[in-house]
Symmetry: C2
Subunit: 216 residues, 2 copies
DNA sequence: ACTTGTGAACTTGTTCACAGCA
DNA sequence: TGCTGTGAACAAGTTCACAAGT
């Protein structure tokens, strides 16, 4: 919307989460919300919420808080400005399948324009609502689309090659589920969803807390 | 190992990633590594690596860098100190299945001690190498284990109830794949893996960069 | 009285830069 | 020379605290 301002990662993440809460809140019949109410839903401070909304230039009223509908529309304008390119989903195993279900279900803002896999028994079929192509055909299939986001849900050994091919097909952002660091040009945005690391982190802190509890 | 020091989240995450690289490096026949080499593998600065290792009290030699084997053992001692409790996996849909495969495969440090689902055609069977119990029996089954970590891979509507029951069964850390904020006691550690938020974030930055490229 | 918007303070995390050592 | 270990500087992100509005 306002092209001049850079919005940091963390703020974008919270805006997405805020919007989810706002929609639920709205369904429950509310039409206004205070910063401290939204903050409680997302487990952040009220000051954080106001700061985030300040970042996107949204303004409420001191007496009546924020109008939910206009706030949701404002966030829509930032997160889904319209005319976006679609998603290329590579790897239709368990994670890929879960994502496809999710995206084709309650998620019309972003659509999967092409899905890929190497398994012969997946290629050529419609899986989880997505036509599944052979990875060999990635460039050819994506040439006919405007895919801007790629999702990598393939084994670690194949991830880098897939990333290279996605990038050369015009993809500018990647969600990477493979446990490797991808090497991409500086103008491609990568978010690593590293489940193994998450698990070890949680195991560490869980254990630390269980031990502390025992020690008391 | 050293119980007195608090290690921040980010450092734990990087240690887990470092260890992965170190093992690969070791398999390739190396037995020493410099901070800048490890840094390049994980896309951080050399100073960051040295700072992280300082945090855990690991020390290398100026002339020869770090000895891989002893460093891996040191990280093992922190991340997997032995005698840990197991993992309770709730929800054996696509995400749960993918996790089960992963955990039972190349991941012996952490074992799934019980898996749960509500679907009658999943309960009572062995899926992805895990015996699957009914969620109703969660407390009863977990009472016979020392599960300290819980994984929530159920729909958003069921997540809070599952979290409550995991916590009351002794779980002190949760990896949450459901798109909701869980309400848990302060001594329970939660890591939210929010795929919808990841996707919207990547879509936002991908679009922003694609647009910037067009503008030039 | 209770809210928003925001400068300023603070906290946390990262990088710099260099002393000391092999 | 080229590395590690680390105090100090720096940057980013969060919270405080209060003026101003209703």
């Amino acid at each position: 919307v306002n092209p001049g301002i850079q919005i940091p990662d963390r703020v974008i993440e919270r805006l997405s989460a805020y919007r989810r809460h706002l929609r639920r809140w709205q369904e429950q019949g509310h039409d206004r919300i205070y910063s401290h109410q939204l903050a409680a839903l997302e487990a952040v401070t009220a000051a954080q919420v106001r700061r985030d909304l300040m970042t996107i230039g949204h303004t409420g009223s001191p007496a009546r808080g924020y109008e939910i509908e206009s706030l949701v529309r404002h966030i829509d304008g930032i997160l889904n400005p319209g005319g976006e390119g679609g998603i290329a989903l590579v790897g239709m195993g368990h994670i890929g399948g879960a994502l496809a279900d999710y995206l084709n279900g309650a998620y019309p803002e972003h659509r999967v324009v092409a899905a890929f896999d190497v398994h012969p028994d997946r290629v050529g079929r419609v899986l989880h609502g997505c036509r599944c192509y052979a990875v060999d055909e990635l460039e050819r299939v994506l040439a006919g689309t405007r895919a801007v986001v790629g999702i990598i849900a393939v084994p670690a050994s194949a991830a880098q090659e897939v990333a290279d091919r996605l990038v050369s097909s015009g993809v500018r952002g990647i969600v990477n589920f493979a446990p490797v660091r991808l090497h991409v040009p500086a103008d491609v945005y990568v978010d690593n969803v590293d489940i193994a690391v998450s698990l070890e982190k949680v195991a560490y802190f869980a254990q630390a807390r269980a031990n502390r509890r025992e020690a008391l």
